[in-house]
Symmetry: C2
């Protein structure tokens, strides 16, 4: 069964975090849509890299129709723009309540915090970017999975985050092979 | 003193390898030029990510004027297109003979192999992408620095490669701080 994943970006997304996910998931034949929330064709990352969006954030994306997971990269102002966008909050709540995977790295767990999805859950983030008391248990593991929420810490944990997303999508064999083939941890 | 680094890409560059270098070096205030060898405005990576080029590969780039280092990402066909381009071969030879830094990761050490720069040197690459006998000593370390040549192995070693480039540019303090701040190895 083909998996389909939505990656949401605003201006100032962290390039390593966003693109490691796209790269790793596409290597496992997951259909990945790199989606511009403001709708621009070329999105500027936090280090000045311009990246082409696959499509704008439309009603289908907001409702999660046809997608198995949503991924939020970090980077500023990206993470705060995502957090302050009511459509994005509606989107992550919808994915969560539909039992789909909701994933955020670095500063982007602040989006899940505003959506109230971390309450009572184990989670992580870039140090200082969410209030520890907004989670059930704040930890400093590279990647944390609690039910259908995956959180991670920063650019240095972006590959580990990507492999964990594959595993949560039921693609553990592909994750194992990619860790080996991409020389992860070597 | 401001450092200036040239990153050369053709179609099918490996996104994590190319963009980790750009991201890390710009965090250390290095001026990084993401250069399209074929001259297109949007370059397509090996996993379908479209990235905006800063400028085309011109005479200034070929001669290394104003640049302290050249970096070659992997990915296919990118690495083979770079290898088969006489202007790129001329460029890496010129950087090398001027005592500037020449850096290649994954399949891209094949460019240095064709340019004859690995002879008698310690080097690495993605497994199988260069002939071991073209180097003085082929090793499997994540990153190898021999004089002004830095080689590395693949997407999983791209961050380590980027920090080593900073150190070779005399920016070791910045590299240490970024390893910490980007949660490298955490």
């Amino acid at each position: 069964m083909n998996r389909s994943v939505l990656v949401l970006c605003c201006e100032g997304f962290e390039e390593i975090e966003a693109l490691s996910v796209v790269d790793v998931l596409r290597r496992a034949n997951v259909s990945v849509t790199l989606c511009s929330v403001p709708g621009n064709d070329i999105m500027n990352g936090s280090h000045g890299i311009g990246v082409r969006a696959d499509k704008p954030f439309g009603e289908k994306e907001k409702a999660g129709i046809g997608y198995d997971a949503v991924v939020l990269p970090g980077g500023l102002p990206n993470a705060h723009l995502l957090r302050d966008n009511d459509g994005v909050i509606e989107c992550v709540k919808r994915f969560f309540s539909d039992g789909k995977l909701v994933c955020a790295i670095c500063a982007a767990p602040c989006v899940l915090e505003r959506a109230g999805l971390l309450s009572g859950r184990k989670a992580t983030s870039y140090p200082g970017s969410i209030k520890m008391e907004s989670c059930g248990s704040y930890v400093e593991d590279r990647v944390v999975r609690d039910a259908n929420i995956i959180t991670s810490r920063g650019p240095g944990t972006a590959l580990a985050f990507s492999y964990e997303i594959l595993r949560a999508l039921g693609l553990g064999n592909a994750a194992d092979k990619l860790e080996e083939g991409m020389l992860f941890g070597k």
